[in-house]
């Protein structure tokens, strides 16, 4: 039988119980929650390895954001701010892309002195011309630059971007995802292969032996600047496993002794210096 008002009583019992039940509110300033390890409390723009914001103030993200949550500010070619916002937060940049967005010819970089890289500008211009300035040739151009400089200097990438009128983001992304070196390596570059074939042929032990010999971890350079050690899956050792590569030469299959010998021998010859003015 349904008693009128019984449902109300049941509801009152629930709310009454709740009143005495433990409360769930967090007393914020007094008790602070412990955040998970990956908590990032602050939204921030990403920096590229050179300490520059990767954001180019191109507004593409703002345009596609369905809830219009993104706004930003930057400087246009006349030095006028193109959105209101705090410059301390939204990096202010006057880079060639800003000129390009404004439909103006890209001016040379203003703060060229920031990078201590000397690149062979006329040579690079020639290389780019040789490929006809097609974006499809980016990888080939990068390869040429890498074989000449040992890595892709940012100034070279900037020049590619400026000359070929390709967005810096695209140039940088293609270079980064293409597996090119973006920072110079000191001395000889020793790459120990970590591909599946090398690993199961004793690549781990080889890496450990060379680490011990050089006294550095992968990604580091010896203090005297003669050797840089790194690992890669891309040595393509195949039947030479376990293998290592010094600069461009692949050695394998190596026993531990042979590996240490090869590295020791190559260390005696001078390698490329990653210091200023490698090429004038």
């Amino acid at each position: 039988m349904r008693i009128p008002g019984f449902g109300i009583l049941k509801g009152l019992r629930q709310t009454g119980r709740n009143y005495w039940a433990p409360k769930v509110t967090n007393q914020y300033p007094e008790s602070r929650p412990t955040m998970p390890d990956r908590w990032r409390g602050r939204l921030d723009l990403i920096y590229d390895p050179f300490g520059e914001h990767k954001c180019e103030v191109c507004f593409q993200c703002a345009q596609v954001c369905p809830v219009e949550a993104i706004d930003m500010s930057g400087f246009d070619s006349t030095g006028k701010r193109i959105r209101y916002g705090m410059p301390e937060i939204y990096d202010e940049r006057k880079d060639p892309n800003a000129y390009r967005r404004a439909g103006l010819p890209a001016a040379p970089m203003r703060n060229a002195a920031r990078w201590d890289e000397a690149i062979d500008t006329p040579w690079l211009a020639g290389v780019i011309d040789g490929f006809g300035g097609r974006p499809e040739a980016l990888v080939a151009i990068f390869s040429a630059v890498e074989s000449r400089h040992g890595y892709l200097p940012e100034r070279a990438l900037r020049q590619v971007s400026d000359t070929m009128s390709i967005h810096w983001a695209q140039v940088f992304g293609a270079a980064g995802l293409g597996g090119f070196r973006l920072l110079p390596a000191d001395g000889h570059l020793v790459t120990v292969c970590t591909c599946a074939a090398c690993r199961f042929a004793g690549g781990d032990a080889l890496l450990a032996a060379i680490r011990a010999d050089l006294g550095i971890a992968p990604g580091e350079s010896t203090p005297d600047g003669s050797m840089t050690l790194e690992t890669s899956d891309e040595v393509a050792a195949g039947a030479l496993a376990p293998a290592l590569r010094i600069d461009t030469m692949v050695y394998g299959p190596l026993t531990l002794e042979q590996g240490r010998h090869v590295v020791g021998e190559r260390r005696k010859s001078p390698g490329r210096r990653a210091t200023k003015a490698a090429v004038s």
Binding site: G178, L183, A236, G238
Partner: protein, 454 residues
């Protein structure tokens, strides 16, 4: 120890050792033909296939011939080549053909061996494909550090151009196809066809969502057929020798042969060519047999899976391997012995996938890292109670929401070892003990090895 630039017996890079035995078709001429000479290739019957396709079969006939041969793409997917061509053929536009010689996984040697040992074979297959699909432009995308392959392919294209086998008005007919050789940046993801097309256009090598498939909108918006280098070599072989001969070996659903790179705990790691459907155990024998007691074979590289030793009578074929949770991949064939820890091996492959992830799709970029972390916890004997469920769920989600096949198959090595070697996982998780006795001697590498160049 060697620093030879070529192997004198075959004229190939020293990385490539061709194993005797098996069913040599594509590899038959490698080492016999001079890769730098068109004459030498023609003497061995080269470009007869292109001539037969253009002169006798016609475009439709060529597709029918490839369909009759039952050729399936050798890049891992196993999609029937003729179907792909038919789709591209009916779509209006400046059709293009791309030869994928990016060599996504550096342990797969087949494409490189063909490009270095017999570049004209790939070029001929490319031209046949271009003729059949009506493409006027063809691109050979080669991994940039295969310098010898690049050089020989460029030379082959130049020679073929000069001999009117490629370029304008091929063999005096009205079929024209301009072939270019382009360097591609090497990375696992660049082997994926949409990522390859993006990279060829000078953009970031990241896959794009499908549909539209590249056969509808590919390179510069035109319908594009992307074929693996090995597939194109098979096309050339079919055009020359006919479909019937092609289907003489292999299974009914997957006729023909496949280049297999065998490595790991075998006496003679190297490249072999076997008929599809060959039992896996015979493939291990080709490489001189396992050096220890074979425990499992990882077929298909980072996107494949483990086949336990007692299942090795399984045929090497697309569907059988797929049903077993593995895949044919690019022909990678990693043999492991009883001294190999399966958990650690699964972690290795996943870690490779995590490092090579392009970062576009979130399930892949983050999912692979979380899986590696879960395996790390198991290896450190401190698993969370939810880890087994997490691994299964995450693997399924990655498979369901994948942007490309590299992502959807990345958990494969983990899932197959989880199914077949659950006791090893349990021993690691509960007791911190490695049943293979391998872990503990090999330090676990950091999740993402410090990458000096980025």
């Amino acid at each position: 120890m060697t620093d030879r630039s070529t192997d004198r017996s075959t004229g190939l890079s020293p990385q490539i050792r061709i194993l005797p035995g098996g069913e040599h078709r594509l590899l038959a001429e490698v080492g016999r033909v001079d890769p730098t000479s068109l004459e030498s290739y023609r003497k061995l019957g080269g470009y007869a296939g292109l001539k037969r396709a253009i002169g006798k079969l016609g475009a439709e006939g060529t597709i029918d011939e490839v369909a009759a041969a039952g050729l399936r793409g050798r890049g891992g997917g196993g999609y029937p080549t003729a179907d792909k061509w038919r789709v591209a053929r009916v779509i209006e536009g400046e059709r293009k053909v791309v030869a994928n010689l990016i060599g996504a996984d550096p342990t797969a040697l087949g494409d490189r061996a063909l490009a270095e040992g017999n570049p004209h074979l790939i070029l001929e297959g490319l031209l046949v494909a271009a003729f059949a699909t009506g493409a006027s432009e063809a691109v050979i995308a080669v991994r940039r550090d295969w310098s010898m392959a690049l050089e020989r392919l460029r030379r082959a294209v130049a020679e073929a151009d000069a001999a009117h086998l490629a370029g304008y008005l091929v063999m005096g007919t009205d079929f024209s196809c301009v072939v270019t050789v382009q360097e591609g940046a090497g990375a696992l993801i660049a082997g994926e066809e949409t990522a390859l097309l993006a990279a060829l256009a000078g953009d970031r090598g990241m896959p794009v969502i499908r549909p539209p498939y590249p056969t509808e909108r590919g390179l510069s918006g035109a319908p594009t057929v992307v074929q693996n280098g090995e597939t194109l070599a098979h096309v050339a072989w079919i055009a020359r020798n006919g479909a019937k001969k092609f289907a003489a070996v292999g299974t009914k659903d997957a006729p023909g042969t496949k280049l297999v790179s065998i490595y790991g705990r075998v006496a003679q790691p190297g490249l072999a060519e076997v008929a599809l459907g060959t039992p896996l155990s015979s493939i291990v024998v080709l490489a001189g047999g396992g050096t220890g007691t074979t425990k499992a074979v990882f077929v298909g590289g980072p996107g494949g899976g483990a086949i336990a030793a007692d299942e090795l009578e399984m045929p090497y074929d697309f569907d059988a391997l797929h049903a077993a949770g593995a895949g044919i991949g690019l022909g990678q064939f990693l043999v492991t012995d009883t001294d190999t820890c399966m958990v650690d091996t699964a972690r290795f492959f996943l870690d490779y996938s995590a490092r090579e992830a392009c970062g576009k799709a979130v399930p892949c970029r983050i999912g692979t890292k979380r899986l590696v972390e879960a395996l790390d916890r198991i290896l450190a004997a401190s698993p969370r109670p939810e880890d087994p469920q997490l691994m299964r769920d995450l693997a399924r989600k990655m498979h369901d929401t994948a942007l490309c096949h590299l992502e959807s198959r990345a958990p494969g090595p983990m899932l197959t070892t989880l199914d077949r070697f659950a006791d090893e996982y349990r021993a690691h998780a509960e007791r911190g003990e490695c049943l293979a006795g391998a872990c503990g001697t090999t330090p676990v590498a950091p999740l993402i090895a410090p990458v000096a160049h980025l």
